[in-house]
Symmetry: D3
Subunit: 291 residues, 6 copies
């Protein structure tokens, strides 16, 4: 089955003529609570044609820039091999001048995307939206578990975390030792505009990779994740962050990960598809969205 | 199966002794993403007896005015025939002095209700709560699709739209040409009281029909719709609008449409039933609710 | 989204080089009990790549003959228009020498397929597997409802019914008047081989169209239909019929209709996909299956 | 909500003009594994109008005898009070000459029905279809649990059990001591006709009450029960028993209990409704069914 | 199956060495709309090990105080017997100096817990979070239904209600006569901090029992309850109340009741488990949470 | 959470006093169609206490031999590491004289169990019940995928396959070259007793390991597997094989794998638990079952 973002009518068949590349990674070997993230990419793609292609907030149609959806990456083991496959795919897209959007799959795929981007742009900031810190040294026998993803990236990129509300004491101690506290979910909910400002102020003036673990959102908005944590971001709150990040003009790629579809519920995958398209609109619409 | 709003104990068997008539229309021939709106009316009716009949906000029991539930309209094709059946049923209720409440079914049923009301009251305003503009000229071969319903009504009534957050470029251009922008969902969420005021200020002093496509609500509140769009109205926000509309004293009928029940989830149909009863309480409770 | 039977790797992109054409018809405007047949074609196609392409019973790989899957027909109303679209699509496949397989969608699509085939081959027998007679003159205001499909075909083709276990008295009286009793489900279950023989004995020596309403199967095997009737055919029983029909060498086309997917259950659509591929294998494998 | 077997069109409003009375008992206070039997009666009634009213096996329409559905009995506690309410309702139906059909609810409701029938007809045989012996002296603090129902009845009626495949050692010892082994499920499956004969041979020539715990059926046919036991009866097997029992002319009433609906699956309640109507047809159709 | 809060690794096997005792009560004999509260305790316990044991808001790990989970109480009937079993279990925990946390089960279990606490501490305040007043004199034949629980407690404890949005006229009249209006849900939503202050101001300086009917929360946050009422508390709002109540230093025990798990949805039971652990953290973390 | 087969009351806490050891392996890293086999072991264990401990077919209570359930093996990657963990656990059980029952998890766990057994008993026969041959050389980048499990074992044990109905051409060619055709599912269904005899006749007189991939069963009986294939074994058919295998007195260990629970359906895990207990009863009951 070949699925494309916005469906075949909205898609470009020739990758070299597309400004935006979607890279589906149907992989979830290490998820623990509720498996199924490997079904996330196809669910997002299958929901996407039900969206309008026009965005009324910015009066824009970014699909006109050309959307190309790769065939899904074949899942392989161990996670290191999967990460390498993601790295190669992102690298290929970057090499033809396309903007890569990785659709997970579990969070560990981010390691590959960040690695490809570092090779190309050098110093890199990574903004992580997540309920969890994902800073474990090791988890269930693997240093490449989804629960370790940001620890793997930490030393090679400037990581900034948003929406965190669940972590272990060792993770907290690591953050204290590093002197880089997250923007907690409760800070966002108490003062979203202030939290957005703090994020931008702390961002170095270098290219930015954005990784969106969908469990950053509140379970009311996004129940279809492996570990739904109450007290999460609302739709408006995440959009405020994405709008501001797009406004920096420095976002070089992003991923949306950890969707584990719930049979019978259409809202989660549709919401994920809309989030992807909204971010793309903020990033590529000519005009007020760019700043 | 004969279902009645609030169940048989809350119902009046003789329609001529009921102030309020419920008209179930189990029809969804044109829905595209997730079918099932034809099961909406019976789900709302079946959920309704689990509500309290007393409303604590207004200290009222509007069921005492007499509630009569028609047998469900038989679904027929093409959509024009269904619309005509709705028109006839609403007309019949109006002719005995009852207040009609249409329970959809897909949004196209509104055309019939508006047509019946126009015959009786002449000039008419229509307030539409919806995530979508529903202003397509034609959709999937039919000008009477749910996606075209407001276009069919546009010329015969003063349409005012609330909660919109998804439309096509041609629909946007139509709205621009007509000079009647909607009250966007994001405007409601930024300043609900202001949005309510804007709606009332723009309403001409004529009878009002209210059509509530349940997808105007946020999917967190109402996941059981064909196309759940994130960023929608909260329960408090829609109530603020309905309270204010009731306060004008000019609401002549309303519908609640597009509920497509999700097996196993009781909250959506219960929420829809409560919405219907809340609006009726605002409309018919003696006292502060009337303005 | 473009789905293909057996997925893109098993598909032929050029219809003129494919021996077999799949025609998805996502349509269910007239279904009454449990809607959703419009989601059937995509569910069958999405399940199909999980099958083995090799059939061990006949030691065959019929995909090598070339499988082409049309884009799904756009659903239109009224049903007559949908039927006409099916007729045109089937006709087009026949005109290039391909064998058409229609994937419903509700049963009314059969009218279009039969009509296309009659134009090409003249006299036609139609073998219907179904729990229901589908012989109503009219149903819910339409003579083209799924409940009327065989009545529409009756006069233009030699209809033979298998698996029936639910019909109205008028339908029974019609069958008595016509002198063509069905092969009842209970006859199949009491003596399957005998029932197969009776079917073949009664079949005139002309081309045969086979229509498989999946509710002919027992709900234990196939719960994902609009009206699941207990006492239906088992997997082995339906295969016995299809094997025998293929053995006549006169089957000219077939359809599989009325799959209404159940969220969370993979077995029904997988079973439907296997049924399609099994029948194709019986029809096209060189050797013992042909007779 | 007022539900009626076959729906309002098939129902008789005046109980005194109905030959058959349906008594819904939405009660499941003592179920242990998967609750929900209290939702069984309304599910059966809601499914029933989707059946054909005509039975093709016996060429009969037993609805013409008059079907009346009582309002559901109000659930009360303790179980003894519920049982007494069932007794009173069944007694009332018997006193006007109607044939009572009790729709459970959990199995404990049978005690009330048997008690009402004994008052009227004296000596009574009870045929129980069940996966479980239900012969515990006491269960979870109550002698009126569903797991004790047949023990409560044992001394006042001649109990005969069919389909058993799960019981405790003390229940087995009780049966041995009493010298009344059940007809095990595996005996039915090995030789159904023989098992039917053995049942009839052992039945005394007195009025018969039939209680059908739906878990007697195989989970493939009937997954919607509290404790689904593999190795159960097929649709054909239970019909063979019911046909034979009807043939004795001595069945005085029956119940169908323990349906716990599964959200999203229509087949179980539809199957239960068909079972009820099939048994009624065997009992009341003029002709070959009676013997 | 033995389940423990936080799982066996987080549990203490010897109750006398645990500061906190969990008492699971899998009971729901009187629930009316959607049964299943009897499955609530095991769902909360099974979800709990997926939480982090560390709380980042208070920088605390209250599990170090020792968590002991009793085997679930055996469900018994009538409700009075169940209530007595709860009383005995809570009493036992109190007698060894442990802090009892009752996990329901339906709301009627609260009567037993309050009774045990009154025996030990004398005058008692009860703070109830609930969508419903639960003040009926009698419901479905039992004065111990979940809908009567606060009426049973009213005279022996100072009841304060929060989050109410659904009650009958007689309940309203009772509250008026008693002169103790609830803190309505809409008051919380309009001014949460003010509502918290009003609650604390009105609380007498005596020990406090807190009962949390999960339907106090909005259905978007907590759909898995018997009667989900729109317009309920958000996650932040309930935490604001619990934080403040913990700050009084007078909370002596609490319960969380009415979770009726929804198959396939992990968020509700996880949210309930987090709520329990959050409240315990507010109660037992050294530092700012205590006041 | 610590789950035990038959629950804590049926369990033995000290492994050295238990004749039977259950080894749960919640692992499914390589499953492709529908993930979730990692949830299988806990589902089987959680369902098991709802069974009767007494078996009426053999009049036996094998739980009296002592049942011990290990804590679940921690899932690790790559599959080789998981397989090694299974090997170690099975070895440990064998070394204390216990009979190991492995509960999967995906089919690849069998490699570890067979390896442990070979170390202890030398020459070994393996009887595989499965819909699939699982004889791929390599699958999705791993030679230890569930689709390769029997190929890994082939050279070190005498493999005999039952119930196969889906395989690739290369797998078929491998079987032909090896001269060891499976007992096809259709052969079982045509003549079960003959198929059982053929299996026994072909079994060398050495210890036997039995691996039961639950997809050997028909989807009607067992829908909760990753790839449900129609045309599978019935409950009676698999029992006939297990009864006969137990009768050889040479079964040394077994596994039950590939259960992927379906939320809301209790029958599949209950059926799996019953299958495990039935096989144990055939193996360990004194008397007619042993042969
Ligand atoms: Mn996360
Ligand atoms: Mn993450
Ligand atoms: Mn809409
Ligand atoms: Mn609309
Ligand atoms: Mn049919
Ligand atoms: Mn049909
Ligand atoms: Mn039973
Ligand atoms: Mn029973
Ligand atoms: Mn409540
Ligand atoms: Mn309550
Ligand atoms: Mn398999
Ligand atoms: Mn296998």
């Amino acid at each position: 089955m070949t699925l494309a973002f916005l469906g075949p009518e909205g898609a470009v068949a020739d990758p070299s003529r597309a400004r935006i590349h979607f890279i589906p990674v149907p992989f979830d070997a290490t998820t623990c609570y509720r498996p199924g993230a490997r079904l996330g990419p196809s669910a997002i793609l299958a929901a996407s044609p039900h969206m309008e292609w026009y965005d009324e907030e910015l009066d824009a149609e970014v699909w006109r820039l050309g959307l190309y959806t790769r065939p899904p990456l074949e899942p392989v083991l161990p996670p290191e091999a999967m990460i390498e496959a993601v790295r190669a795919a992102v690298s290929e897209s970057l090499s033809v001048g396309a903007f890569p959007v990785v659709l997970g799959g579990e969070h560990s795929v981010t390691v590959g995307a960040v690695s490809a981007l570092r090779e190309r742009v050098g110093d890199l900031a990574v903004v992580q939206f997540d309920a969890h810190a994902d800073l474990r040294e090791n988890y269930q026998g693997s240093p490449y578990s989804h629960a370790c993803v940001m620890r793997r990236i930490w030393d090679s990129a400037r990581v900034r975390q948003v929406g965190i509300r669940s972590l272990s004491r060792p993770e907290m101690e690591f953050l204290r030792a590093e002197g880089r506290p997250p923007i907690w979910a409760r800070e966002v909910k108490a003062d979203c505009a202030g939290a957005v400002r703090r994020l931008l102020d702390g961002l170095p003036d270098i290219p930015v990779y954005v990784t969106i673990d969908l469990d950053c959102l509140d379970p009311a908005v996004m129940p279809a994740v492996g570990t739904p944590e109450p007290g999460g971001l609302s739709w408006d709150e995440i959009l405020a962050f994405l709008r501001a990040l797009a406004g920096t003009g420095r976002v070089a790629a992003f991923d949306v990960v950890e969707l584990a579809p719930l049979p019978g519920l259409a809202a989660p995958e549709y919401t994920a598809a809309r989030l992807v398209y909204k971010f793309l609109t903020y990033l590529f619409a000519p005009g007020p969205g760019r700043g």
